[in-house]
Symmetry: C2
Subunit: 148 residues, 2 copies
């Protein structure tokens, strides 16, 4: 770890029109932070659980698993615990029998869900295009693929 050298730009090839600028992109500390967050949140299960909770509000363990879909109890537990740890999810245990444990997004979690909303929408809008791109690629692949 810790390497993270960053001689950064200076050598950007010309004609880089749409150079997108992010707030704080020049702050290495923030860069590292974003990186860490991405690594923590950019995981299949986390995103799916996030979506499920964002959509359905307060749900119980088993139900949550059903909503997410094909997820093992183990992964669900692990994911949800990690999210709780990160302050994205609130876990409420009702001391009754049978046990009733409810999960819901925290304020932070909801805000993240909102941020990801753009991605869901994107997926809905462009899913088919990706599908098409993939098929097309498959057709052209295998050979040299003369681009350039």
């Amino acid at each position: 770890m810790g390497k993270t050298k960053a001689p950064v730009k200076t050598v950007l090839t010309k004609a880089k029109t749409a150079r997108k600028v992010y707030p704080g992109e020049d702050d290495p500390r923030l860069q590292a932070l974003v990186r860490e967050i991405i690594e923590r949140v950019a995981d299949k299960w986390t995103m799916l659980v996030l979506e499920a909770l964002d959509e359905h509000g307060v749900v119980r363990f088993t139900r949550l698993g059903e909503l997410v879909g094909e997820i093992s109890q183990k992964m669900l537990t692990k994911t949800v615990r990690q999210m709780e740890k990160d302050g994205l999810v609130k876990r409420t245990v009702h001391p009754v029998i049978p046990p009733r444990v409810e999960y819901e997004l925290t304020e932070l979690g909801r805000s993240l869900g909102e941020a990801f909303c753009g991605v869901w929408v994107w997926a809905l809008k462009n899913g088919e295009e990706i599908e098409r791109a993939r098929v097309e690629f498959e057709r052209g692949a295998g050979r040299g693929i003369g681009m350039s």
Copy 2:
């Protein structure tokens, strides 16, 4: 791949206590599509490469690796290839010596980058809060944590 049997949980198709409504959320086909997209795109390396390309435009292989940070050549290749396959990235090979291969986002890739933009911003804004939440959780964890 995982065709995990049939979860004959008879009790599932019920009125959803949905709060947030996504376009097409009632269409199982679209649901599956979103799910697939998420699974494909919600991966650490993909997101990091996406960000790097979104920020810097056209970059060469090695440079891209530097921009992403701690990524092995193998993973970079794999990720970038997958993204190309999905139509997110365009790969241009210049037949010169030494070889020069440039990567850049396609229109589709840029649109995804835009969708994810909300997440970068979120990470920048809430990174520290997550940090705090985690620390706090650590302190309170370990024991029973009587909630409810």
